[in-house]
C-alpha cells in the first residue's frame, strides 16, 4: 500500500493528543472488525507486554560514602551477598543470589522488591584498610530514597518465545519451569505469546538499542542485545522463531519502579528468580511492521522439551502453538497433557494497557533506535578445554 509513518510524526500526534494506540491483542480484533487497510491507516502504535520470571536481572547501587569511608570489598544486603568488586561504594546485586541465612526462600530478587517497596534493607560490608579508606566494616540500614543511584540492569530479559517443559522420567522434578510430574502428567510454558514484545517485531525492525520501554512500572531503555541473543533459531512461515531466540539487555530506574511490576519469586527446590514487567511500544511505520503485529497465539510455535534429561541438549518431543497451550491441554506422543502457564497473561495485558495509557496521555514518547540488534547469530556453548586446546599455533 506504500503508506508510511515516521516516529517524529507519531510523537507529533502524541503531543497534539491525536495518536491512536492499541494493544497487540486489541489490534487483532480491530483488523477483523474494521478491515486490514483501515486498521493499518488508523493505528500509530501497538503496545506489547510480558510479566514472567527473568533470572538474568539485577541492580547497580551506589550507597554514598560513610565517615570515615570504606572500600566495600564484601557486601551483603539483608544477608544476600552483593558484588563489590567495583568502585568503593558501588555494588551489583543479582536477582538469583541466595541469602546466607534464609537460603532458597530469600534472595537478591527479594532485596530488589524490598527496596522498591520502600522497606529498610540492612547493609553490611567488610574490607581491608588503606590510606584512602580507613574503615574496616560497616553495618547500617538503607532505603531506596537514601541511595545515590539504584537502577536495574538486566543482562537478559524478554526472551522472544521460549519452550514447553515436560518430564518423561519416573520421578517429579523441580525446575525453573515449575514442578514437573513424572510420565508427562503436566506441561508448563512461559511466554505472553501474542502480547510478547519480541514476538510482535520478530526481525527487530523497530526494537533496538536505545528503544524506550516500560520496565517495572517506570520508563527504561534497551541498552544492548541480551545475553544468549540468538536470532538465527529456526523460524516458522511467519518468521516467528520456534523456541527461545532474541533477547534484550535493559536498564531502568529502580527508584521510580513499582512493586506491582517487579516481584521476587521462589521456585521450589530450584532457587530464587524475579518476575519482571516489561512492555515495548511498536510504531507502525510501514505495512511489514503492521503485518507482524497481527500475530496470534496460533501463529507462534514452540518446542516441547523433556526437562528430565539433565544435559545441554534436551530432546524435543513435539511442536505446539500457544492457542493449544492456552486451551488447557496438548497431545504429545499420543498422550493428552494438562498445560499451565508460568508467566502471567493477565499482568502482560495490564502492562500493555498501562503503556498505551502513558502514550495516550502524552507521558511517553517513542524513540528511534540508535543501533539495531544483531539479526543473525547463534548461541555458543561452553566446552571443557585445556589451555593447549586454545593455544594459538604460530
Amino acid at each position: 500500500m506504500g503508506f508510511e509513518r515516521t516516529i517524529e510524526e507519531i510523537n507529533e500526534k502524541i503531543r497534539s493528543g491525536k495518536v491512536v494506540v492499541v494493544t497487540a491483542e486489541e489490534i487483532i480484533q480491530m483488523a477483523e472488525r474494521d478491515g486490514y487497510d483501515n486498521t493499518f491507516k488508523k493505528v500509530d502504535v501497538v503496545t506489547t507486554g510480558t510479566f514472567g520470571p527473568m533470572c538474568s536481572s539485577g541492580a547497580f547501587i551506589n550507597f554514598g560514602h560513610s565517615d570515615p569511608p570504606i572500600k566495600m570489598q564484601k557486601v551483603w544486603l539483608n544477608d544476600v551477598p552483593a558484588y563489590g568488586g567495583i568502585a568503593a561504594v558501588d555494588v551489583y546485586i543479582g536477582a538469583t543470589e541466595l541469602s546466607e541465612t534464609k537460603g532458597f526462600e530469600y534472595g537478591g530478587a527479594h532485596v530488589i522488591e524490598d527496596l522498591i517497596s520502600d522497606k529498610p534493607v540492612k547493609l553490611k560490608a567488610i574490607s581491608y584498610v588503606t590510606d584512602c579508606y580507613p574503615r574496616r566494616e560497616i553495618e547500617t540500614y538503607i532505603n531506596r530514597k537514601m541511595l545515590n543511584q539504584a537502577y536495574l540492569f538486566n543482562p537478559r530479559n524478554a526472551y522472544q518465545n521460549y519452550v514447553v517443559a515436560v518430564n518423561t522420567s519416573d520421578r517429579t522434578i523441580y525446575t525453573y519451569m515449575g514442578i514437573l510430574f513424572p510420565k508427562m502428567a503436566n506441561a508448563t510454558y512461559c511466554s505472553a505469546g501474542q502480547l510478547s514484545p519480541l514476538i510482535n517485531d520478530p526481525f527487530y525492525d523497530t526494537i533496538g538499542i536505545g528503544t524506550k520501554i516500560f520496565l517495572g512500572g517506570a520508563q527504561g531503555f534497551i541498552v544492548w542485545e541480551g545475553t544468549q541473543h540468538a536470532p538465527s533459531v529456526a523460524r516458522n512461515e511467519r518468521g516467528i522463531p520456534i523456541g527461545g531466540a532474541g533477547t534484550i539487555a535493559v536498564i531502568g530506574d529502580l527508584k521510580t519502579m513499582s512493586r506491582r511490576y517487579i516481584r521476587a519469586a521462589v521456585f521450589e527446590r530450584y532457587g530464587v528468580s524475579i518476575y519482571i514487567g516489561l512492555g515495548i511500544p511498536i510504531p507502525i511505520l510501514n505495512e511489514k511492521i503492521f503485518k507482524n503485529v497481527l500475530v496470534r497465539d496460533e501463529d507462534i510455535h514452540v518446542p516441547v522439551i523433556d526437562y528430565s534429561v539433565g544435559r545441554r541438549k534436551r530432546p524435543v518431543l513435539g511442536i505446539v502453538n500457544y492457542k493449544q497451550l492456552r486451551s488447557g491441554s496438548i497431545t504429545i506422543r499420543g498422550k493428552e497433557i494438562k498445560t499451565a502457564p508460568i508467566s502471567s497473561y493477565k499482568m502482560a495485558r495490564e502492562i500493555a494497557q498501562e503503556l498505551k495509557t502513558w502514550i495516550l496521555n502524552g507521558k511517553f514518547f517513542l524513540t528511534n533506535y540508535v543501533h539495531p540488534l544483531p539479526k543473525e547469530q547463534n548461541v555458543k556453548s561452553l566446552d571443557i578445554n585445556t589451555i593447549d586446546d586454545l593455544e594459538v599455533e604460530v
Binding site: N186, T188, F267, A340, P341, I342, S344, K346, M347
Partner: protein, 148 residues
C-alpha cells in the same frame, strides 16, 4: 463436621468430606464397595495415598439423600477401626500477592485451581480442593497457605 448442602441442583443431597486413615489390614478389603452396596452412599474418592508403613489415607466425599445413611456408614467404618477426621483445613490464596501467573494450576490435579479463559485470573474452587498442598510449593509468590 457438617459440610451439608452444596452444589446447584443437589438441594436434597447431603455431602460430607472426611479424611479416613486405616491400617494395612484394611487396605485391600473392599470397604468402599460395601459402603456403596449396603449403605447406599455415593462415594467420591478425592485423594488416596498409601504411606510407606502401609497405612492408607483417603479423602472421601460421602453423599446421600438421607443423612442418617451417612452416619450409619461412619459407624460401620469406625467398627472396622477406620479413623474418621472432619476436614476443616482450608487452602487460602493471598489475593494481594497473587499475580495470576497460573503456576499453581500445573500441579492441581483436582482442577480446583484454574485460569479463567477470558480474564486470565486465577480461579479457586474450594469444593474441588482435596488439600494435597501441592500448590503451596508451586506458587512462586508464596501466596498460598493452609489453615488448620
Amino acid at each position: 463436621m457438617k459440610r451439608d448442602v452444596k452444589g446447584k441442583n443437589q438441594k436434597d443431597v447431603f455431602t460430607k468430606r472426611v479424611m479416613l486413615t486405616f491400617s494395612r489390614r484394611l487396605v485391600s478389603k473392599p470397604v468402599m464397595y460395601r459402603l456403596i452396596k449396603e449403605y447406599d452412599i455415593a462415594i467420591n474418592i478425592l485423594f488416596a495415598k498409601v504411606l510407606p508403613n502401609e497405612t492408607g489415607k483417603l479423602v472421601v466425599e460421602f453423599s446421600s439423600t438421607d443423612e442418617k445413611k451417612i452416619q450409619k456408614g461412619f459407624s460401620f467404618l469406625k467398627s472396622l477401626g477406620v479413623k474418621i477426621e472432619p476436614i476443616s483445613k482450608e487452602i487460602i490464596r493471598d489475593e494481594e500477592n497473587c499475580i495470576d501467573c497460573g503456576a499453581c494450576t500445573s500441579v492441581c490435579r483436582s482442577q480446583a485451581l484454574s485460569i479463567d479463559k477470558e480474564t486470565f485470573e486465577l480461579i479457586f474452587d474450594s469444593n474441588r480442593c482435596v488439600l494435597c498442598e501441592m500448590c503451596i510449593h508451586a506458587c512462586p509468590m508464596r501466596a498460598i497457605s493452609i489453615t488448620f
